[in-house]
Structure formats: C-alpha cells, structure tokens
Amino acid sequence: MDNQNQALIFERSREGRTAYSLPPLDVPETPLSNMVDKVYLRQEEPNWPEVSELELVRHYMALSRRNFGVDNGFYPLGSCTMKYNPKVNEVVARLDGLTNIHPYQDEHSVQGALELLYRLQENLQEITGMDAVTLQPAAGAHGEWTGLMIIRAFHEANGDVKRTKVIVPDTAHGTNPASAAVAGFDAVTVKSDENGLVDLDDLRRVADETTAAFMLTNPNTLGLFETHIQEIAEIIHAAGGKVYYDGANMNAIMGVTRPGDMGYDVVHLNLHKTFTGPHGGGGPGSGPVGVKAELEPFLPKPLIVKKDDGSFGFDNDRPQSIGRVKAFYGNFGINVRAYAYIRTMGGKGLFQVSKDAVLNANYLLKRLSDAFETPFKQLCKHEFVLSGSRQKKLGVRTLDMAKRLLDFGYYPPTIYFPLLVDEALMIEPTETESKETLDAFADHLIAITKEVENSPEIVQEAPHKTVIGRLDETQAARHPVLRYVKEKH
C-alpha cells in the first residue's frame, strides 16, 4: 500500500484545469435572468476542485491502493459473506440494454428487464420456499423493515391491532430491533441457552397475544443451526405471530433446507452477500423479501408479473399493499448480478456452495479451537464465533489481535459481536476460499496468540505495516470534522 500522506482532491485543485468535455451549446442562448428570478440564481460557486483527468485518475488510484477488498485478500468478516464477486457479473450488468434504460419507459420497450426480474423472483421463491417475492427493498435492513410492515399490515387487516411486540434473540443483528422500531413495534429480547440457541422456555414466556413477529436468522449469528426451529415456529404461530427469517446467513443452507419449509412466513435475502452483489465499500445492496401466500396481498407495489399473453408487466392494482418502500423497482443493477450468479451456479451449484461454505468454516474452527476459547462445542454452519477471553487475561484485547492481522495482509473478522460472547471474533471464511488460504490464515492467527503469550506489546501496538496507525476515534467524535474547509488566507 501507498505510504504517502494522501492529499485531498480539494488540495490538488488548480484554477483553470478540468476533467470533462461537453459539446458547445448548439441552441440559441436565452439570458439566464429571463428564465430565473435572480433570487434563485446561484451567486457563489461550490468549492469543487479543478483537476485534469490524469490527476483525477491518479488521485483515485492512490486511494484504491489504500483500500482492501476481497480481490486483495482473505476477508473473513463474519455475518457479511465476503465471497468472490464474479467479473462476468460486472460485464453483464454494464450491458447497454440493462444500464441505459429508464424506469418510466413503456412496458413494451423494457420487456427484457422485466423478464429478468421475473425470472429472478421465481428463482428466489424456489431457493427460499416462499410463494411470492418483491425485489423492491434496497438492502437487508430495508428488507427487514419491509417484511415487518407486511406483517403489521396483515395483523391490521385482521383487526388484530394489539400486536405491538417483535421478539428478537439476544444474538440478533442490531438492525433487527432497529427495524422493528422503525416499523412501529417494541422490540423484546429472548435469551439464548447455554448451547447458543434460542431458549424455548424464555420464548414461551415472551410469546403472547401481543406478539406480531419473531425475527430469527438460521443458522443464528453464532453460526449455529437452530435445531428446534419447527418448535419455535409452532410457539410463535400458536401465539398468533409470524416468524421472520433474516437472510443474512442464507449462505449456509441453500439446497439444505428452506425458510419456507422450516416454518418461516417472511424472509429477506441479502443479494450482496449470498448472491455475490458485490459489497461496493458499503453498498449498494439489494434485499428482496419473500412471503407465504397469505401475506402476498400486502407486498409493496408494484409487483412484476407475467401476463396471459406471455409478456411481462407491473401489477399496481394491489389494494392491501403496504405501498412503496423505494422509488422505482429496487436496485436493478444488483439484481442483474444476483441473477447472473444464480444462472452460473444452478440448483446443484448453490447446494455445493453451502456445503463448501460449511466445510470451510468447520475446518477453520477446528484449526483454531486449541488456540482460542470456543464458547460452543457443536458443529458450526457457515461461520463461527471464538472468544478472546484467554488472551484478555494476558492483557491483549480482541481488537489488538484484529489489528495485528492487518500486518499479515488479512482483513480481520467481525469483532465484539455477537454481544453475548466475551471478546468475540466472528469468522466467516466463505466457500470461495481455498484450503491453502484457510491454513495460512490459521497459522498466522495461531502465531499471533503465541505473540500474545511471549511479546504482547507487538500485538497491543499493532498494526505496524499499514499506511496509517490506530486512529483517534475519541477526537473524531468529540470534535467532528466532517468536511474539508478551505483555509482562508
């Protein structure tokens, strides 16, 4: 990586340079003052930079060298499924007929796009075991909220207005309770038992006539399969609630089991995770939502449908719909990539993906289980959680070990999550990593635990080889500097 202190683009600016070219205006010019009242004509230019095209390219090339993606190396960030992002996806998503189309074009002129979305819906229904799918939500959290709004609309349509509560496990992603709140519910927590699974007695205690839904990813965020999922679904259904599947961990179960068969009523998928999105430095994602038939009337509108004449179109005539959750039809470009991936793998291939993801995770867990405390003894699914509690006793935190991994060219695992594991390291290797990569990573992480025992300061002071050291986050929060301001001379 580049060791230079990187100038901001604003600091590279020199008056008179430019990096774009437009043809000269070819229509007769009207004075601006004839078109717009001067109160509304901008007086002061925005302080945007003036750079040549090469300078612009070098600026971003330099920034890219100070960034780390899956293409650079192993990225076992738990719960994020940082698998390989196929290059062909990028090629097809950039096809003219898929990129330069406007959402308000006449249906007849976008049949290919509608057909692609329809095919994707059908495939996702089969993968999840659901009866209908909307592709409108833009991300996982957006899908969660959409799903909960659907459940709320269902209960309201039944005159069942006392259901104010959404249950989430104590291992849940932070978005689950947040989505519940934004959908107008109170989030209530159910405990995990000593095996890291939902405590059924506690669930029976909290599930009642005020329960709208229970949100549960399976495998859960500890990477463990909720073996009692059918019983869980029965408890919630008996209370009149719906069971919500957070698809963040779908990579473990494709072709193995389906949310629809486990008793779930609603599911969202993260197409940027399981279906090779890609992650884009934080987005865009795509968070389709699938539902069982009785919830279908409440899906956001429009839905994409196949008409009797074989053509594709929008169904806007949906009186019970929760409405729109996003303008237009979702993150189409990401949906194209996911569809390309599903077509590349096929049904057998996706099953193999989950088998290999689980194999890789269990292998890596086994390789690391002597060096770390392992809070749960059973097999894991696509990811697992270690505890750095042993190392903490020697004065080295999980954060320190994560930073030390940077020196060896790895992106560290998710740390301090789930909250119920002390000094947690959450590791998700994914199926696209080779055994050699897993072995090398395990060797390095074990070597770090030896450093913790023999020379802890190396770990405590890490990283040593990155372009920048540990940053002062307290200062950043206390005195926020959120933009560049040109110094006045």
Binding site: V27, E50, G97, I101, S109, P177, A178, G281, K403, L482
Partner: protein, 451 residues
C-alpha cells in the same frame, strides 16, 4: 476437474478437511438440521450456464430493451440521461473499492473513507449545508428518513408535504410515516407550484416539517424564500428540501434559504439510469442536526503518529449500538454509487457543474419555445429548470407509443400520478439532447397531436 469456477475445494481437500474436523462426509456437517425439514432433491432453478452462454443469454435479454443510447430520450421525472465521464466507470471498477465492505477497519480502508469524506464535502458545498452523510439508498428513502428525523427532533407528528414533490417519493414517505405512526398532510399544487395560502393554513406549531422539492416535480423553481418564512414562522417546524443536485450548479442552494435538511438523489451526477437503481441518496443538514443524521458519517482525525486519517464517527447514533432506540435502521448504504458520483463531481469541478446546468436549462427552454412555435401548448408558466409540461390533447400513453415507433422515447405521462393531469406530458431535456434531436422530437410530437 471442478464443475464450478468459483469453488476451489478439491475432492482431495475435502477428504483431508473432513478428516481434520472428524466427520465422515459433508452430510455429517448437516446432522443438526432435522430430517423433516431437509430439502430433498435439487432446487428447481433455471439450468446453469457456462460463461459464454450466460453472456449471450443476458445480451439477448438486454436487446429486448430499448435503451436511451438507441433512441433519444425525453424522459426525466427523477431519473435522467446525462453525460457520464469515462473516468467514473474506470474508478468504480477497481476491485479495491467494489469488493470491499463498510470501512470498519480504518487502517486498511483509508481509500474508501477519504473518498466518502470528499463526497460529504462535495455535497455540503453544493447544497450550502454544514454536514452530509455518506449516502442513503436513494432520494425517496432519504426524504422519508428526513421526515422521521424531523419528527424525532421536534417531537411533532405532523409532516406537511407539497404535492409538487415526486409522487413516488411521497408514496415512500407515506409507508415510512405509517410505520412510525406519523400524520402526513399533502398540500395540493396550484398551477404546478406550492400554493402558499394552503401551505400557510396547513402548518402550525404541531408541525414537524414541511417538505418541498426544488426544482419541483414539474421542473418549476421556487418559491423557496416565501416557503421558508412560513415554515420558520412556526415554533419548531423544519424545512426539508429535495433537490436535483445538478440544478444546484445554477440555482441558489437550499442552505441559503435556511433549509434544515436537504435531500435528493445523485443519479444525475455520474450514475446511469439502470432502470431505477442502484442510485444514491444524499442527506445534508444544518449545524444543529449534525449529531442526529441517520446512516454513516466519516470524520477526520489523526493516528498515534499525528498523521491525518479518516474514521467512521458519531456511531453512537447507529443501529448496531442503539439497537431498538436507533432513530433509523439504515445499515449498508450506496457507497459505490457515492464514489461514482464523487468522481463525476470532481471531473466537472466548480465550472463544469455550472456549464452542465446551464446547458440543461437552455436546451429545455429552447425545446419549449419550439413547441410553442408549433402551436403546442406549454403549461409551465413559472420559471423551470430542465423539465416542463406540455398538453398533448390526447392520452400520453398513446402519444408515447407512436413516438417510440419514430425512434423517440417521449416524456412522462402525468396522468399516471395526478388525477387532474390527463393528456399532460412532463418533458426533460438534458445536455445529451442535440438541437437536431430536439427539433425532430418537436416535429414528431407535433405530427402526432397536431399543431
């Protein structure tokens, strides 16, 4: 040889790994999945395709669409056909950017963090606001989140929105408002603009915010000055302005009219139409709201050696810390699109954004003049930016169908969203349309509807 090019585990690897784990077969790894819920057989998906087959198949689907490269397009209504400098795609194709995730580990994510810091700065400069976040899903969700923020800050439940705001943005707002049990009051449009008297009557001390669009959905500019006086004449109400960022290259920024929150979509700046997404919402606020902004923020700080660097900051507001107390559930954002937009904004620079905006307003006005000369009625009598309304005197859907036959993508059918606007077409003219294309469009539309 493996059947799947993304899967590196060989059969030999598999045997060794299963052996280390201490199980016999893959199946044993799933012994915790009860037999009753095991999926039997193969998923019935479409058959898998090799790489060349896949490209051919998708190219075939793509060809079934008419692209805005095939035909000149006069469609806008929130999404536009604009010039995208080649450097944009070159930058966002870098694996270091597009295969990374949220920059949790700042030491190996300085590139992304700095790029976002620059994005925040570009948006602040353009909108005239104090702070901007790292992006939202799109303009519509950004607008809805702004309303939620206002409600939470003012503890008021009444959201007042002008009918001149994008109809789909208002629909999304309605869904979010229902979630949070807020009341949305829509102020009807009068001649394509906010009716100030009705607005004044709708706003009171129980109002959380007033949401307007500038330029509005019909392309019209103003009257932000008068609106602001009404809004801030109440005890708490906040002014939320949704703006096409390109127009702000030419127009006085909402920050100069004391807007509290400015939102919109960066699509016109460096992002392709993509059938409606992914695009990139922006979210900018005044100083007093900095600690209330939803989504991620990047801040400048120093490392242990005093070197300048960037981190995700003010995260105490966020869902992963606040959980059920969070004001927003947004987690991932549109970072790659924010990057694309940043590259475009930097390519244009302070002079280019002005030239681009001026070409839009000039070409739109030229087109409107040509329609008038042809005898076609232009309904927009107030100042407008790059969109205006014409009366087609017959259903727009029919007109567009005929235009398509002549190789032109016509404008937006306003009857789809407004009861009183039968036969009205919203026409967008961007810098991409040549004089020749505009003249042909006027000729073709004139031919269809008669002068």
């Amino acid at each position: 040889m493996s059947e799947f090019r993304y899967l590196p585990v060989t059969e030999e690897d598999r045997r060794e790994m299963l052996n280390v784990i201490g199980v016999q077969s893959d199946e044993d790894l799933f012994s915790d999945v009860p037999a009753k819920i095991r999926f039997k057989g193969d998923l019935k998906l479409e058959p898998k395709l090799s790489e060349p087959e896949l490209v051919r198949f998708l190219a075939g689907l793509a060809k079934k669409n008419v692209s805005t490269r095939d035909y000149p397009s006069f469609l806008g209504a929130g999404i536009y056909d604009h010039y995208i400098p080649s450097v944009v795609d070159s930058v966002i194709s870098r694996g270091e950017f597009y295969t990374a995730y949220t920059p949790y580990q700042a030491e190996v994510s300085q590139g992304e963090l700095q790029a976002i810091f620059e994005f925040q700065t570009l948006i602040c400069e353009l909108t005239g606001m104090e702070a901007a976040n790292s992006s939202m899903y799109d303009g519509s969700t950004s607008l809805a989140e702004a309303a939620l923020l206002s409600s939470s800050v003012t503890r008021n439940k009444k959201i007042v929105v002008s009918e001149t705001v994008h109809p789909e943005y208002r629909q999304v707002l309605a869904t979010y408002a229902h979630g949070r049990r807020l009341d949305v009051v829509t102020v009807p449009a009068k001649n394509g603009a906010v009716d100030l008297q009705t607005l004044e009557a709708a706003v009171d001390d129980g109002t959380a915010c007033v949401i307007v669009q500038y330029p509005n959905f019909f392309g019209q500019i103003g009257p932000l000055k008068e609106i602001e006086q009404i809004v801030h004449g109440t005890k708490k109400a906040q002014l939320i302005v949704a703006s096409n960022p390109l127009s702000l290259g030419l127009l006085t920024p909402p920050g100069s009219f004391n807007a509290d929150i400015v939102v919109g979509d960066c699509q016109p700046l460096g992002i392709s139409e993509s059938f409606g997404g992914p695009h990139c919402g922006y979210f900018a606020v005044s100083k007093k709201l900095i600690r209330k902004v939803p989504g991620r923020l990047v801040g400048e700080t120093v490392d242990d050696q005093g070197q300048r660097g960037y981190v995700l900051t003010l995260q105490a507001r966020e869902q992963h810390i606040r959980r059920e107390k969070a004001t927003s559930n947004i987690c991932s954002n549109q970072a790659l699109n924010a990057l694309a937009s940043s590259v475009a904004m930097n390519a244009f620079g302070k002079k280019g954004i002005r030239e681009l905006a001026e070409q839009n307003i000039q070409k739109a006005h030229y087109a409107a003049e040509q329609f008038k000369e042809y005898g076609i009625s232009v309904c927009s009598d107030q100042p407008y930016f790059n969109e205006f309304v014409v009366d087609c005197k017959r259903p727009v859907s029919e007109v567009n169908h005929l235009l398509l036959k002549e190789g032109i993508i016509g404008g937006y059918d306003l009857s789809k969203s407004f009861d009183q606007m039968n036969n009205k077409m919203l026409i967008a003219v961007t810098e991409m349309r040549s004089k020749n294309e505009i003249d042909q469009f006027v000729e073709a539309l004139g031919g269809i509807i008669g002068g």
